[in-house]
Amino acid sequence: MSTKAILLGNEAIARGVIEAGCEVAAGYPGTPSSEIIPAIAKWADELGTRTVVEWGANEKVAFEMAAAASFAGKRSCAVMKQVGLNVAADPFMSVAHFQLKGGFLLISADDPGPHSSQTEQDSRFFAMFAKIPCFDPSTAVEAKEMVFDAFDLSERHNVIVMLRPSVRVDHCRQDVELKDVIDISRPASFEKDPKRWVCLPSSVKVNHPQLNAKREAVREEFETKFAKYNFEVPAKGKAKLGIIAAGVSFSIVTDILKSWGVDNVSILKIGTPHPLPLKMVEDFISRHEDVLILEETYPVIEMQLNDRTGVKGRWNGWVPGAGELLPEVIEEILCKVTGRKAPEGASPKLKKAMEELNITPRRPMLCPGCPHRASFFAIRQTLPKAIYPSDIGCYTLGVNQGMVDSVVDMGASITQASGLYMAYKVDGIEQPIVASIGDSTFFHMGLPGLASAVYNKHVFVLAILDNNLTAMTGGQSNPGIGDKLRDGDTGRKVDIEGAVKGCGVKWVKTTGAYDIAGSRALVKEAWEHARTHEEPTVIIFRHPCMLLKEKQAVVPVMVDPEKCIGCKFCINYFNCPGLVFDEKLKKAYIDERFCVKCGVCINVCPHGAILGTEGEEA
């Protein structure tokens, strides 16, 4: 029986994972992949499968857990975002060489644009690097379908298979057909075989040529047996222009040509960009005078061609080498290639209206009431001359408060603090440094850096901003919380303070994030201890994330216009959506559309202009 539902792309992918009989799934949240793992748990609960689905502490952990489940013969999958695959790159490259047992699907979600990432790298390139097969869906419906074929292909060739949805597939919403679960359950059975499961150099001598052979066998299948993903949309009559399109670009280009009423262009849709069905692609190229390649974000199809000199793509600048291929971008490329008149750009009238109305894009900000804002304020007030390396999470938005000086990747707040300390140590200069990291990020990759800093006696303060949630990605659990995903599945909370002490940190104290005065005293003490004892110190700032909607004191506030001198201190140092500046009156005021009445800003104004208005609130 099948029914239809409107699903988020990630929910459709998750549904495919469960329908395909996957029994072990692990991941780490990261936009645009975050909804997949919770949806796998949801479908497993709804459909009553035995699937074990978990968050790992990071992507490497998740990948390795899922891989080992495949060693034991289970269908398994690992889920992450593109930069998460960087973290999992080590096991990924090794396991690519293995003769796997259970089907193993790697879902790596890309973020062209990027919308919520530090790079817009192309996971398909990683598939090419590891020499493994990759599916590149154009729609949510296709992504779900590809999950089945990926598991099947993986099991037939004993190789990892990647599904690479881009953000527009992950976060599209589409009507999707729901089917029943295929029952492929088989008992876990790990067969001891060191030659197969131990990655010694001697095995690579066997496995690498075998991997090459697998790739060519899969390529042959992609040439002939995957017409549902690799197919030609023929033109009416003879086409001069042929477009090779993959991923969401295929969906966009077909919609544009349709809306133009153009049917003298043929399109070759490629759903399996690696290994590229080369004969099919080269045949298509040979039949067209002019060929354009549209793919995101890197030239993966382009670079696999034996001769790309005859095609229009990224190598010769017809397609931009960075950024998302939005409908407007593809339209412009199509206009250039076909000699059609380009659509008019931004209207000068609209531009003028926006200038006159003083409208600019709204930058992301920490939520009203966010505890990080208060923590950052207390740190900056206490150690204004410090350098503030920070990390990946909501608190990266502390950049608006001048509290984030550098961010590299997950966990690098701590290692940057170490590196900065080392640089100033060379010159014999004592430089205050306060690093900030969230609870989930601390477990993800903070621990090795902290152990290293203790070992090497690095002098800095580490602020762990514990809001009891992996918040930026929408509110997932992590080891510091202990909740698990499936109904009835319980975990255990890992104590942050214990982990910090376990790394060898001698001075660690906890403060309530809203308690600005208390936090300031601790920051001062922590820095004094660090510099006098030559060791890192840790402050844990605690307050639940606003997304958790936990009950807290309601403290309505107002700005007294008599006392406000218009210095903008509260705007620049506190930066709350609920506290805004009236440029005409030159006074701050509370924007009640956004204020959540946390009352923290009462302690912010140096002129005492922000007042509690107790009694007025029902």
């Binding site: 239809k4 936009t31 919308h115 589409q174 919609d255 659509p343 609209l350 709204r362 929408g474």
Partner: protein, 184 residues
């Protein structure tokens, strides 16, 4: 029918496209759309695309939207370029005077676009204790009241009844109706 729904992260705009999706599906229509998740949801500009009919791409191209639904007037102006000739806009407003801007008026005239405003914050403050989270359904009611879009007020009520959390159903319906009355 192509919708663009814009607002500020945290305003709950995703629920509005879910309601539209539910209605379309119940009528057997094909739908595809695109949402924003992640960093922009933290108070930044957010945009949701929603298309009913025979489309592949989840995104609305500039100058192709039939309807622009805006939870915030600034976001409305920033995204007007999505509107097609003769398109329609429904905007939640906090300072209604923005519509008097001559450049804006002239642009809307050229594009033959109809713009309707609703003072959503004021209405929710007056009638629903300032619970601004109900903006997302209020604006759907306002859209129907203004006779914009491809769904009826009864369909919206029915879908909201199905999709809203049980204990907030009545409040949601009330907000839908307040929106509907506000633009009718």
């Amino acid at each position: 029918m192509q919708y663009v729904i814009v607002g500020i992260g945290g305003q709950g705009i995703l629920f509005s496209s879910r309601v539209l999706g539910h209605i379309a599906l119940s009528k057997g229509e094909r739908v595809v759309g695109s949402e924003v998740h992640g960093m922009a949801q933290r108070g930044g500009s957010v945009i949701s695309h929603f298309k009913v009919g025979d489309y592949n791409s989840p995104m609305v191209k500039a100058k192709e939207a039939d309807v622009l639904l805006a939870f915030d007037q600034n976001e409305a102006v920033r995204n007007l370029h999505f509107l097609k000739q003769g398109g329609q806009v429904v905007v939640n407003t906090h300072e209604a005077s923005f519509v008097d801007n001559p450049s804006l008026k002239s642009w809307l005239g050229e594009r033959d676009a109809k713009l309707r405003t609703i003072l959503g914050y004021d209405i929710l403050k007056k009638h629903m204790g300032g619970r601004f989270l109900f903006l997302n359904v209020l604006i759907l009611g306002a859209m129907c009241g203004a006779g914009v879009g491809s769904v009826s007020i009864d369909e919206v009520r029915e879908a909201v009844r199905t999709l809203a959390p049980a204990r907030f159903v009545e409040d949601n319906i009330r907000a839908v109706d307040l929106g509907y009355e506000g633009t009718r």
